[in-house]
């Protein structure tokens, strides 16, 4: 009996291990041959109905734009239908991981472009997930596809390429270093878009004195404050963010140095201008509060203008980057390439996914799509007719990357310096446990030093 039990245990262990790693396959990215050689050439409908499985994250404007795009594709190819699964942006990496692992997806959307790659000074930092996916062969190599030439070569090189090969298409750029503002409230108090931090201070303090919450943000989801808000504040303050990030790694800059403490003080001010109980406002609820006049401004990215217009098409709003010390009026947008499309390399419907990419690469299809998304176009010759995006033209003269694209934290970093490093949600005023910014700066530096020491 003992021998029988031992045999069973060994079998059980082997079965479990096989279940974990049994599906290993080539880790070389399959390359797509040019469209002409695919089996589903021409514009004929497939003999059998095809369902393309897509995954994306919850964002009303994006979801609607994708639905319209898919509908157009289905009108052209009637036998092709779509199943689009969405989850909250925080949970999206999990959905992406699990669906790719299960092979249960055809087209993957990514929250960002291929960026935030470890640099020579970020010793021991983990590789980002997108590298893992490319190296595992999950993303189809589309370098040789003819439709690539339709797109902006800068976007192709900087947003969707890795080691000289192309793995996706990026749908546009977005800015997220600013706030939406209520034009009626601003006009009521005679405010203009601020050019400096001092002007911004006056606006926020005046609003507060008059019983109006200056700023709202969907802080319950964490990232709208600790990623978007923090990126905007650091971007407004630090002229060279790469140098700042490098300085933190090499020890020439500290979270507690004099210059950084000025920034922390600004964070303290920002926290005092946020709506009461802001930590319980979800990302989805924030536009509603903003449109309802619960706050005069809302920290968010330019991508969410559609949500505001959906709530009230007549609502008068604008967008300005959070200003710094120098009057750079109009201050310039910082952000990232947003929403990348990738094809799951082992999809049984690769040919139809490529056809979808080809369809999307036509200016007459991409134009309305990028309009609906509210992004800055990444296809030469395509001009957006989105009024809001066009209204930002003067703020988009020297578009730069945001702080989140520069900062990489050491492996094993503690909570006080994790993410974008300035974790203001840990302050007591926002329901955290840290008394003030001086204490938070000290704790952040301790966590940073401990992580660097552990790497050594």
């Amino acid at each position: 009996m003992k021998r029988l039990l031992a045999i069973f245990m060994v079998i059980a262990l082997m079965l479990s291990l096989v279940a974990c790693g049994g599906s290993q396959q080539t880790n070389e990215s399959p390359k797509a041959t040019p469209q002409g050689s695919t089996s589903t050439g021409g514009e004929e409908a497939p003999a059998e109905p095809v369902t393309l499985r897509m995954i994306t994250w919850v964002q009303e404007t994006n979801e609607r734009a994708i639905a319209e795009l898919n509908q157009k594709f289905s009108e052209k190819y009637p036998n092709v239908s779509f199943v689009v699964d969405t989850v909250n942006a925080n949970d999206y990496p999990t959905l992406q991981n699990t669906r790719i692992s299960a092979g249960d997806v055809d087209i993957i959307t990514n929250l960002s472009a291929f960026d935030t790659y470890p640099q020579d000074f970020t010793k021991g930092a983990d590789l980002p997930a997108w590298v893992t996916f490319i190296e595992s062969g999950a993303y189809l190599d589309i370098t040789d596809q003819p439709f690539i030439k339709n797109w902006d070569p800068n976007m192709i090189e900087n947003a969707v390429s890795y080691k000289g090969r192309v793995y996706g298409l990026d749908m546009g750029a977005v800015g997220f270093n600013g706030v939406f503002y209520n034009k009626d409230i601003f006009e009521q108090y005679g405010f203009e878009e601020p050019g400096t931090w001092a002007e911004f201070e006056v606006i926020c303090n005046t609003l507060k004195e008059n019983g109006i919450s200056p700023i709202t943000v969907g802080a319950a989801d964490a990232w709208p404050l600790t990623s978007v808000g923090v990126s905007a504040m650091v971007g407004a303050y630090e002229p060279d963010m790469n140098e700042f990030a490098k300085g933190l790694w090499t020890g020439t800059r500290k979270f507690t140095d004099e210059r950084c403490m000025e920034l922390w003080k600004r964070f303290e001010q920002l926290v005092s201008w946020l709506e009461p109980n802001v930590m319980s406002i979800s990302y989805g609820d924030a536009p509603g509060r903003f449109v309802a006049g619960k706050a005069a401004m809302m920290i968010d990215g330019t991508w969410n203008a559609g949500a505001i217009e959906d709530l009230d098409p007549n609502f008068r709003y604008g967008y300005f980057p959070i200003p710094g010390d120098v009057d750079g009026k109009p201050n310039q947008l910082q952000g990232k390439y947003d929403m990348q499309f990738n094809i799951y390399a082992h999809s049984p419907n690769v040919d139809w996914c490529l056809k979808y990419f080809e369809f999307l690469s036509q200016p007459e299809v991409y134009g309305p799509f990028v309009d609906a998304l509210g992004f800055f176009p990444t296809m030469p010759g395509v001009q957006t007719s989105n009024e809001f995006v066009n209204s930002l033209a003067d703020k988009n003269q020297r578009f730069g990357l945001a702080w989140e694209k520069f900062i990489i934290t050491p492996k094993g970093i503690g909570q006080y310096a994790a993410g974008q490093c300035f974790n203001i949600s840990l302050l007591k005023d926002l329901g955290g446990t840290v008394d003030n910014v001086e204490e938070l700066a000290r704790l952040a530096q301790e966590d940073w030093d401990a992580a660097l020491a552990a790497i050594e």
């Binding site: 009996m1 039990l5 069973f8 245990m9 079998i11 059980a12 262990l13 079965l15 479990s16 291990l17 279940a19 974990c20 790693g21 599906s23 290993q24 396959q25 080539t26 880790n27 942006a89 925080n90 949970d91 990496p93 999990t94 991981n97 790719i100 692992s101 299960a102 092979g103 935030t116 983990d126 590789l127 980002p128 997930a129 893992t132 996916f133 595992s136 999950a138 319950a220 964490a222 990232w223 990623s227 109980n277 930590m279 319980s280 492996k411 094993g412 970093i413 503690g414 909570q415 993410g419 949600s425 840990l426 329901g431 955290g432 446990t433 966590d447 401990a450 992580a451 552990a454 790497i455």
Partner: protein, 305 residues
């Protein structure tokens, strides 16, 4: 003939038990052993990514490279969650079971069903219910405490989030403990209470000298289940606070965080199931230690009695 019959009986027993053993080994023991083995690898869980054995690197990262302050906070949260859930859940469940075992109460079956309902509803509904009730903007509790000039962030405040998670877990699991206690109470012979009453025992004396000693084995089972259940629990935390705040991170939530990349945000790295497995082994040792400590202390108490 007798020997043949005995041999047949023995063989049938073995044959009958083999499927159960096989199922248990494949679904229980196998994955546990696999977790142990995988904790020495850098497996990501992403299909197609090659993985290899990396020795003790995951454990080294867990104990030495990871931020010590965070590790201590996670352990502290786990202990608070476990002790609070075990003690409060069992006290309330015992009180309700005794109350609802009283034949004087009319409609006690209905009340039992009401208390048991959260267990049936499951963790998702329970968490959503308490997220609504404890909504700091316009939830009923916020409005009530607002009458006294008080405010709280509940699940969003580092000061109250863990307490809110603990209460949600208790509310969800209490019905289960109550049912086990009820079964234990109903197995106590009524004659003992009658004899006690003849001897002049008061209500509290009956509880102390009859109910409690005879219910002790049942309570033991409940306590043990609560210890193990609360240490393994991560669902309530995931569904209420998302575990984004370290104030509610427990060992089980940490396993999910690393193994399945849960709530690491949009700038996330890939899943790290090897490292997650090392956390799972740490959790296993933690549960084993807690259970053994409890078991030994109970054994000592029983020996003294």
């Amino acid at each position: 003939m007798q020997a043949v019959r005995t041999s047949f009986k023995k063989s049938s027993l073995i044959l009958g038990i083999i499927p159960a053993i096989f199922f248990q080994l494949v679904m229980g023991v196998g994955p546990s052993l696999a977790t142990f083995v995988l904790s020495f690898t850098d497996i990501t869980g992403v299909k197609g990514v090659p993985w290899k054995f990396i020795g003790l690197a995951n454990y080294k990262e867990l104990f030495f490279q990871q931020n010590h302050r965070d590790l201590i906070q996670v352990i502290k949260n786990t202990i608070i969650f476990c002790v609070a859930v075990t003690v409060i859940q069992n006290l309330i469940a015992l009180f309700i079971a005794i109350a609802l075992n009283n034949k004087m109460i009319r409609g006690r079956d209905f009340y039992r069903a009401v208390v048991f309902m959260p267990t049936v509803l499951g963790v998702l509904v329970t968490s959503l219910v308490w997220l609504c009730v404890l909504n700091p903007m316009d939830g009923p509790v916020a409005k009530f405490i607002g009458l006294f000039g008080l405010t709280s962030g509940f699940f969003t405040s580092s000061k109250t989030a863990l307490a809110c998670c603990i209460w949600t877990q208790i509310w969800m699991a209490m019905g289960h403990s109550m049912v086990i206690n009820l079964a234990g109470l109903q197995s106590i012979p009524n004659e003992l209470y009658e004899a006690g009453a003849i001897d002049g025992a008061t209500g509290s004396q009956s509880f102390r000298y009859i109910t409690f000693p005879l219910l002790w084995p049942t309570l033991n089972v409940n306590i043990m289940l609560a210890i193990i259940g609360s240490l393994q629990s991560f669902q309530v935390i995931l569904l209420t606070t998302g575990g984004r705040n370290m104030a509610t991170q427990t060992l089980a939530a940490r396993v999910m965080y690393f193994a399945f990349n849960i709530n690491s945000g949009s700038g996330a790295g890939a899943m790290r199931q090897g490292y997650g497995a090392a956390w799972a082994m740490f959790l296993f040792v933690f549960i084993l230690t807690a259970t053994l400590i409890y078991y030994r202390s109970v054994k000592r108490r029983d020996e003294l009695i």
